[in-house]
């Protein structure tokens, strides 16, 4: 038994009350990745229930939010896993062959040069405070095929390592790197077209 299993009554009590305070944040965290309000609501509900059932395991070592987010991640991954099973790879949007995908961005006739050279984005950090930038960002990330978006969110929002993503989605490491590559390529191109070079 680890020391974290010794219940800390104070932490547990504040855990139960405090959890509700984080509901809003948890919802937003889930919504960004699930893109569906009622699904997001469901996983938050499940997370809070699970948290209440196992509140004695919250030892107050991490912040309550970090602990809750950890539970929520697993709930979101469960949904991702189900979605990955429901929608087979071919219709999940990762169906282009490597060659077809490369052809969207590179010119095979000219030794795989960019069709359009990536432009300089100037000082892109300034866009982060611009509401319209995030509207474009959201539109662009919704353009990612679901299969690819799931891997991308697990990597970039949940911060999972690729071997964990492979395991959860039952894919090979190479496949995982390819999906993350495609996600970044699409998102980058979309942001450049619709935001950075459109202004």
């Amino acid at each position: 038994m680890s020391e974290s299993s010794i219940p800390d009554a104070g932490a547990a009590r504040s855990g139960a009350q405090g959890a509700a305070l984080h509901r809003e944040y948890l919802y937003r965290y889930a919504l960004l990745q699930l893109r569906d309000a009622s699904r997001a609501e469901d996983v938050v509900q499940e997370t809070l229930l699970a948290a209440m059932e196992s509140q004695d395991r919250f030892a107050g070592k991490s912040s309550l939010r970090t602990w809750l987010t950890g539970i929520l991640k697993h709930k979101i991954i469960d949904v991702f896993r189900k979605q990955a099973r429901e929608v087979p790879l071919e219709s999940g949007g990762a169906s282009e062959s490597d060659e077809e995908f490369a052809g969207l961005h590179f010119d095979k006739q000219r030794t795989d040069h960019w069709h359009t050279f990536p432009q300089t984005w100037g000082d892109p950090e300034r866009s982060l405070e611009d509401k319209r930038f995030w509207e474009v960002f959201d539109q662009c990330s919704k353009q990612m095929p679901p299969q690819i978006a799931r891997a991308f969110y697990m990597r970039e929002i949940m911060g999972l390592e690729t071997d964990e993503i492979c395991k959860e989605l039952s894919i090979t490491a190479t496949n995982c790197w390819v999906m993350l590559y495609r996600a970044r390529m699409s998102l980058r191109q979309c942001l450049e077209l619709r935001w950075f070079s459109a202004r």
């Binding site: 937003r28 965290y29 961005h105 795989d112 040069h113 984005w121 405070e129 995982c176 590559y181």
Partner: protein, 67 residues
């Protein structure tokens, strides 16, 4: 020399795994002479920083944006 396509793949892989020294070296040789790929590399880095600052993940009280 690596093509732009190969370099774009390595730039992306570098976000997910540790590149071997030879891969790194070949990538840098290309980046030194290719402005498009250099732009690509900094954009990929920016996107990683950006998504962590997504408005839905922000909490102004606890976690004010670092400015």
């Amino acid at each position: 020399m690596l093509t732009c396509k190969q370099v774009s793949e390595l730039v992306s892989h570098a976000q997910d795994r540790r590149l071997g020294w030879f891969e790194r070296w070949r990538m840098h040789v290309h980046l030194r002479v290719c402005e498009g790929c250099r732009n690509f590399e900094s954009q990929i880095g920016f996107m990683r920083r950006a998504i962590r600052r997504h408005p839905l993940l922000r909490d102004e009280d606890r976690d004010p944006p670092q400015r």
